[in-house]
């Protein structure tokens, strides 16, 4: 991609860049990847157990977005639309590989290790204990700041189901994090 067009794209608003990408401009789509990778990769790192598979899924999600961007209704809806693709990419992968959460009985909760900032390690390990639906709902609620209705729209699950997943998941996460706090 020529650096001149990249400089031009950087100055444009996101909806303008999305409109260009919807018209088939690959440089514009690349700019969207640069702008949104932080959100997408962070979200998938909360959902996945390891960083490598999270980044792999993030790339798959962006390729899906590139394939379907012409079906996007409006440029302003890009953020929510991309988040839906990310969540569904992860759910599909979780179903495929039958990702099983490790129960507390099977593993010892480790205190923070030196190679990671403590709070990040604690959160990763605590999230790994939650069931997949609870993890998705908790992450979308507390990491992304979505309302229950927005989570229901993103996941395609009924509102009541989302509410109970958030309540159960958050309660469990709180217990786990206080256990880490006592252990470290």
């Amino acid at each position: 991609m020529p650096s001149e067009s990249r400089v031009t794209l950087v100055t444009l608003s996101e909806s303008a860049v999305v409109t260009l990408a919807m018209a088939g401009n690959d440089a514009a789509f690349s700019e969207l990847v640069a702008r949104r990778q932080n959100m997408v990769r962070n979200l998938l790192r909360r959902l996945s157990h390891d960083k490598a598979s999270a980044d792999d899924l993030a790339q798959q999600a962006f390729v899906q977005a590139w394939k379907n961007i012409r079906s996007l209704r409006s440029a302003e809806a890009f953020g929510g639309w991309l988040r839906r693709i990310v969540v569904h990419t992860w759910l599909q992968e979780a179903r495929k590989s039958q990702v099983q959460t490790v129960s507390l009985d099977e593993t010892e909760i480790l205190p923070s290790q030196n190679s990671f900032p403590g709070v990040r390690m604690d959160l990763e390990q605590a999230l790994a204990q939650l069931k997949n639906p609870e993890r998705v709902c908790v992450v979308l609620s507390y990491n992304e700041g979505l309302s229950h209705a927005e989570i229901a729209e993103t996941t395609g699950w009924p509102l009541g189901t989302v509410k109970s997943h958030v309540a159960r998941g958050a309660s469990r996460l709180r217990e786990l994090l206080s256990a880490y706090g006592e252990g470290s």
């Binding site: 690349s30 990769r41 962070n42 790192r45 790339q59 590139w66 959160l123 958050a170």
Partner: protein
Amino acid sequence: MSDDTDATLRRVFAESAETLDSAAFTVEVNARIGREKRLRRFGLVAAAVAAGLGAMAAAPLVSDTMHTISVGSMALANFGAGAVGPLGWLLAAGASVYAVVWVRP
């Protein structure tokens, strides 16, 4: 759950967020998109080749059918035009059926 607990969980998530912004990631996504494009082009070429081969394979059959219909039409024209009355039309129809069913190139 209380607002305090909610706020605490939000803070834990916010504190653990990383800044993930690398050019290498964008390059990798672009490479995957490039592979998708090549696959798509290959699919289009394969479909075009398959359509061409299908047309070539069907050509003799189409030609045979068209020949039969044209023979039948000619028979109908010859007998029908010359005949006057129901017997003439009956003869024309019989000849047409004969031409379509039994006459082959």
